[in-house]
Symmetry: C2
Subunit: 353 residues, 2 copies
DNA sequence: TCTTTTTGTGTAAGCGCTTACAATGAGGCT
DNA sequence: AGCCTCATTGTAAGCGCTTACACAAAAAGA
């Protein structure tokens, strides 16, 4: 045993470039406990002592070792988030706000992505929990119960964003996807459209996509219309998939839909691209709507009429909720975020037959 | 001391939900060392023992504690990456590839963003190093020496992506921004343009943006032309900034540029939007080019002529380099990635005067 | 048969930090 | 003066894991 210790000690002597708490303590002429306190509850130290320790920290360029802290304190000042994808900008803006809010509280955000795959999500959750995250942020509420159990077993607070639930014992921060989609669809119908089709996101394990379909159905049924099965296509959130979906919807020359409601702006952009390729004018020949109000929506002519999701506010609220839960406080109670409709050129009246 | 230990032990008894290595060992009837070996070098165990341990791990749902591992082994199987922004898709695709490649090797990617601010980048690097990342991936080569020193002091391998250097002792994986921009500009000039302007990214601490300007200058000078100061505007990579920049460039009614080369596709999309708003047709009245070949480029009509950066390949190579360096191997030697030009509708001949 | 190796497993020391409790000394009260 | 409180700092146990070395048993030589 002695030899091992000696060996390590020697290694350390020759190889150490990163100072430890003990080095700081020695230099400042205090105990390791005092240095630790200087880091964690500086107000408990006499000003003179604190200054001495801080000087030593500064001089040595000391940075506390994360693993050591995590092990000893069982806290990491880290929040983990798993988003479905980084490929398009859907979640970027919200996450940026999460990150900023957390950073202001001295908490780091660990980001992972699941590619819309619940198994991958569970795996990532496991990895994040293993890293000792103090809390977890997930998107949406649809996932296997096992994932919820996993998180509960680790006793970590969980916040779901982009949805209002129903949540298995998790806090939700978000907006009413169904209502927003209903409002948007209602607006489309008010423009006189009766032949409406929808390119939705893939609904498997995606409650937002499903809720948006439900919202569209709501609006149509309220007017005695129905969304026929052949008028509903699911497509992954990608340009190309949307192009194909749009072509499929428009294939029957007779009774083509006059409006296509898309599950998000990426789909809408793809649909518009396909329409152009088919020689259809937007909105004269076909109206198209999106969801999210990404940059894309304002750049693609004639501008995508879309639901303006308050990403940043949602991100901030999610972060605040997580911080409160982590500290054992009751989380602030937020109202469901309002989603306005941003009207742009892609929505107009149906063409006269 | 006893009391403290007892207290903790009691807490543990009542509160433990997460099993430790010791619990697995007890259940499998082996020592903790054996369980640890089963995790790290399973081939060293007798098959029968290994199975018993694995069964216990499975039964208890044991997951090794990260902090404990990190502390004891001084390795984390984690690579950190700091990208300038998540707001737009510039880095998303490349990072996705990094993540996939690392995941295949059992390594987790920790992602942070710097908002193009070198101070923030250094701060994030410190945070990642503190977390014990085994290596670091940064974008571009331009940053204060202090950041390089910080990383060197921690003895962590560093890979720079999106650039070819010059790198302060770091491996570079990327492409020649200058050459790609030169090729693109040459193509513009071949179309007959002589009045060329450029909306570049902000060059402060951004060697890619600077290299692209240099490339455009190269091409122009090779034809005896120059990029006049009033024909060069820097703008952050955002739609709105690009719109303003474009308006500024087009303000003088006389001798307006006939082509605007943009530092990336986001800028190009903004420029096209502004052009439309000004009643200018693209490409009949003005040609516009981008860089990166984002989704945006194919969706915005008439399609953005752009440099096709091989993001995914670059990401994969960066990850492979990091993994090799982490294991103390010589990194594979990659050639600079080729950047092709994707010609789309936004580039044409200058209008006849 | 009696060494040598090899193989598989156990023992226990630390990794760098936090924190309960102890110790000290300075004031405050009676 | 004697006792108590409070503020400040020190002491040292332990967080959950890895791993050098010890040791026993099995395999391989001699």
């Amino acid at each position: 045993m002695e030899l091992y210790a000696t060996h390590k000690r020697l290694m350390a002597m020759t190889a150490r470039t990163v100072p430890r708490l003990e080095d700081v303590a020695r230099r400042a002429g205090v105990s390791t406990a005092t240095v630790s306190r200087c880091l964690n509850e500086p107000q408990r130290l006499r000003a003179e002592t604190r200054e001495r320790v801080e000087a030593a920290i500064e001089a040595l360029g000391y940075v506390p070792h994360f693993g050591g802290q995590a092990l000893a304190s069982n806290r990491t000042n880290t929040i983990g988030a798993i988003i479905p994808t980084m490929e398009n900008a859907i979640f970027a803006r919200g996450l940026q706000a999460v990150e900023e809010t957390l950073a202001a509280a001295g908490v780091t955000l660990l980001l992972a992505s699941s590619a819309y795959d619940p198994a991958r999500e569970a795996e990532q959750a496991r990895a994040l929990l293993r890293r000792g995250v103090d809390g977890l942020l997930l998107i949406g509420a649809a996932r296997p119960q096992a994932t919820y159990d996993l998180i509960a077993r680790h006793r970590r607070p969980l916040v779901l964003a982009w949805t209002l639930g129903p949540a298995a014992g998790a806090a939700c921060v978000g907006f009413d996807n169904r209502k927003a989609a209903r409002d948007l669809a209602a607006l489309v119908l008010e423009h006189g459209h009766r032949d409406v089709a929808m390119i939705a996101g893939v609904t498997a394990w995606n409650d937002r996509a499903a809720a948006r379909i439900a919202g569209v159905r709501d609006a149509m049924e309220a007017r005695g219309l129905a969304l026929a099965p052949e008028r509903l296509v699911e497509a992954p959130y990608a340009i190309e998939a949307a192009e194909r979906a749009f072509s499929d919807l428009m294939a029957p020359a007779a009774r083509r839909p006059t409006a296509v409601i898309c599950g998000n702006d990426v789909l809408a952009a793809g649909a518009i691209k396909a329409a152009r390729a088919m020689g259809l004018r937007v909105p004269q020949d076909v109206s198209i709507t999106g969801f999210d109000n990404l940059d894309l929506a304002e750049v693609v002519p004639p501008g995508v009429t879309t639901a303006k999701v308050p990403h940043r506010r949602m991100g901030r609220q999610a972060a605040e909720t997580l911080l409160a839960l982590r500290d054992g406080k009751r989380p602030p109670q937020f109202d469901a975020l309002a989603v306005a409709i941003e009207v742009r050129g892609s929505l107009s009246h149906p063409p006269a037959r």
